[in-house]
């Protein structure tokens, strides 16, 4: 306990010295977020300094072993670090890293020593940005129905197929990719997880334009892409186990989707845009719906908190499907209300249009497993119906 307190004081001290003031302010624009990778660059010198200091401390991945560039901290120390970072409102050094949040933990859990040494340090240093290759045009909700083939050529596989809904594939350097390595056995038993460089011959990336106008996802075509056998994660044909492990991680991240720092709450926006009458929002129907949203939002936030505590304390919890389902539905409701609050002013199609994030939110309950799939998971795995 004394140790932990010492650690807190040391950490506080260190952050005081190494976290620049400009890295303690809220992010205003997406462009300010450093995501790493070959094509990345720093937005400011402060950012570079902050990221490099954190890398050198290993605190980009606080609990990963030091030998791979991690911080080697205990769970308790990590919690202290989080608290101290949050206390000074420090920015995340590397944002939305699929390496750190997804494939990194999977490699640590399932990967060979060789893979760990090859990939983990580069993730931590922000040198390589990762993307995932899961969904295919004919296997969306039915992920295990995937058809991308990896044929065995002795020391390497040759991949052919098409992946869709790959987040930021056009900005990423490596892909972790589910492929079919056994074409005869059952749906779930012939799947493997492999890693490859997006610069490999035969990889073509095409961004997908969404109804919001943005292109956060891509299609990735694989045309005789050669992948060394040592880039297989875990055992051959056992990829579905790792996939499920990854999906649970993903759901939890997306369930968090409503959890964005905003300068305004919905009700403040509404008061500003619509005005009060006798202290009440003039549109009484909208007032009720905003209040109901606010209550549900608070309930959801508290539930994320509670579930995490329960997982930490009891190691139980199969609730990421629920958090994903509810969180994304809440986010859609939020944007519907935002549209209503702003009326005609929300309908313009400029770059800063309120309609664009509204349209983008429609995808929340589809990407990362549709709401329907989450409800299926709850029914089957938690409620044991079926």
């Amino acid at each position: 306990m004394q140790d932990l307190n010492d650690f807190r004081l040391e950490t506080r001290d260190w952050l005081e010295n190494y976290c620049p003031q400009s890295m303690r302010t809220p992010v205003v624009d997406e462009i300010e977020k450093y995501c790493g990778g070959r094509r990345s660059s720093y937005f400011s010198e402060d950012q570079r300094a902050w990221v490099e200091s954190m890398i050198s401390k290993g605190w980009i991945a606080p609990t990963w072993p030091r030998e791979y560039g991690g911080g080697g901290l205990t769970k308790e120390q990590e919690q202290v670090l989080k608290e101290e970072l949050s206390a000074i409102k420090a920015r995340s050094p590397i944002f939305s890293s699929m390496g750190l949040s997804m494939i990194g933990p999977a490699i640590l859990e399932f990967g060979s020593e060789e893979l760990k040494r090859q990939h983990l340090p580069k993730m931590i240093r922000g040198e390589i940005r990762w993307c995932q290759g899961y969904s295919e045009p004919n296997s969306g909700s039915d992920l295990a129905g995937l058809q991308t083939r990896a044929e065995d050529f002795g020391d390497h596989f040759v991949l052919n197929g098409q992946k869709v809904w790959t987040s930021s594939a056009d900005k990423s350097d490596w892909m972790f990719c589910l492929v079919r390595t056994d074409f005869d056995s059952g749906k779930h038993s012939g799947i493997s997880l492999v890693l490859f460089d997006m610069e490999s011959a035969g990889v073509t990336v095409r961004p997908i334009k969404l109804i919001s106008g943005a292109s956060p996802f891509c299609e990735t075509y694989l045309d005789n892409v050669k992948v060394e056998k040592n880039q297989l994660v875990g055992e051959i044909n056992k990829g579905w186990t790792i996939a499920k492990y990854l999906l649970t991680h993903e759901r939890q991240n997306i369930g968090d989707i409503g959890n964005v720092t905003r300068s305004h709450t919905l009700s403040e926006e509404a008061v500003e845009s619509i005005g009060l009458h006798e202290g009440r929002l003039s549109d009484s129907g909208l007032r009720t719906e905003i209040a109901e949203w606010q209550i549900d939002y608070e309930c959801h936030q508290l539930t994320m908190e509670r579930v995490n505590l329960e997982i930490e304390s009891f190691g139980v919890g199969n609730t990421s499907a629920m958090l994903k389902y509810y969180g994304t539905e809440l986010n859609k409701r939020r944007h519907e209300l935002e549209m209503s609050i702003h009326g005609g002013a929300a309908l313009g199609w400029g770059e800063d249009s309120i309609a664009r994030p509204w349209l983008r939110s429609k995808g929340n309950s589809i990407e990362g497993g549709t709401s329907e799939i989450q409800l299926n998971i709850i029914s089957k795995r938690i409620l044991a119906l079926g």
């Binding site: 129905g145 334009k209 845009s273 313009g348 309609a355 589809i366």
Partner: protein, 379 residues
Amino acid sequence: MELLLNQEESMVKDSAKEFLSTHAGPSLHRKLRDNNCSRGYSDALWSQMVDLGWPAVLVPEDYGGLGFSHVAMGQISEQAGSYLASSPLFASSVLGVSAIELSGTQQQKEELLPSIAAGELFLALAVDETPRHNPEFVDCKAKKSGSEYSLSGEKLYVVDGHISDKLIVSAKISNNQEDIGSTTLFIVPTASKGIEITRVPMVDSRNSSTIIFENVHLSERQILGGVGNGSNVLSAILDIANTHLAAELLGISIESFRRTLRYLKERKQFGVNIGSFQALQHRAATLWSEIELCKSIVLKALRSLDNPNLSTPRLASSAKAKTCKVAALATNEAVQMHGGIGMTDEFDIGFFLKRARVAQLLFGDQRYHTNRVSELSGF
């Protein structure tokens, strides 16, 4: 047989459906959008509509029109919803014609109706001054001096304002510093000096306009419906507007649902059509029921426009409120049930979501009209 179409109305519906299904639809809409068409509709399509006599549907025969019913015109509005057909029909041939017909002088009618019927003259209605519909808030001032007026102020979200020849504008008449009387409507040529029209591209790839009036000179003869009579006339015009928007929203709902249903029968996951999943079936069945209810209220409200009575405002608001809610449900369910492909710009279903949102908001959304139903029902 109030709740059935008569032969004339059925004919109009069938021909509108046949014409628009071949000449309009998502691909034309996409082309207009991708070409950044500044008028917001296809000239070729409009010429054909004129040939079919659509701008003349609501114009009385005495003024060169067909003198058909709102029920008949409503069939066109509905099909325009199903086939995403943008044109000046709503702003000019429904709202413009109704405004002149309801409250114009003999001279105004003779001057304007035949040209609108011929598709040569475009009107637009300039009402709102705030982001959320509030026709009673009128800050535009018509300063009186002698028998002349000078109009100043700003109007927002004027549908097709940027292509119109004349605007119908609500303003308050002021005499020196003092306001006299309540809201009055004016017919204002867009070519008048002192008018600045800014086109605003919208999420549905159509246009609305922000219009600034600065000391626009008007004569007494440009008053529509009499001094101080603006609120009453406007109220009747807005009932017409909202009922035809309800018809359009019904068309959007029907078509989004039709496309979704087709997709449910085509798309395979887990080795079966996704339409075989009961959870989706029940949602589809619920949605279908809601759309059936919309059909009834829209027809009743249209019928009521043709024989206005005390229930007309309530029916118009009920129709708008109900179709707003159902169109939102139908278009959202459409995107969700289409899954990944429904999120993409490449696929057409998103157009219905976008257009529905604009049509919902125009002249009052679901909450506005639900509130109005309460008010009209005395609670």
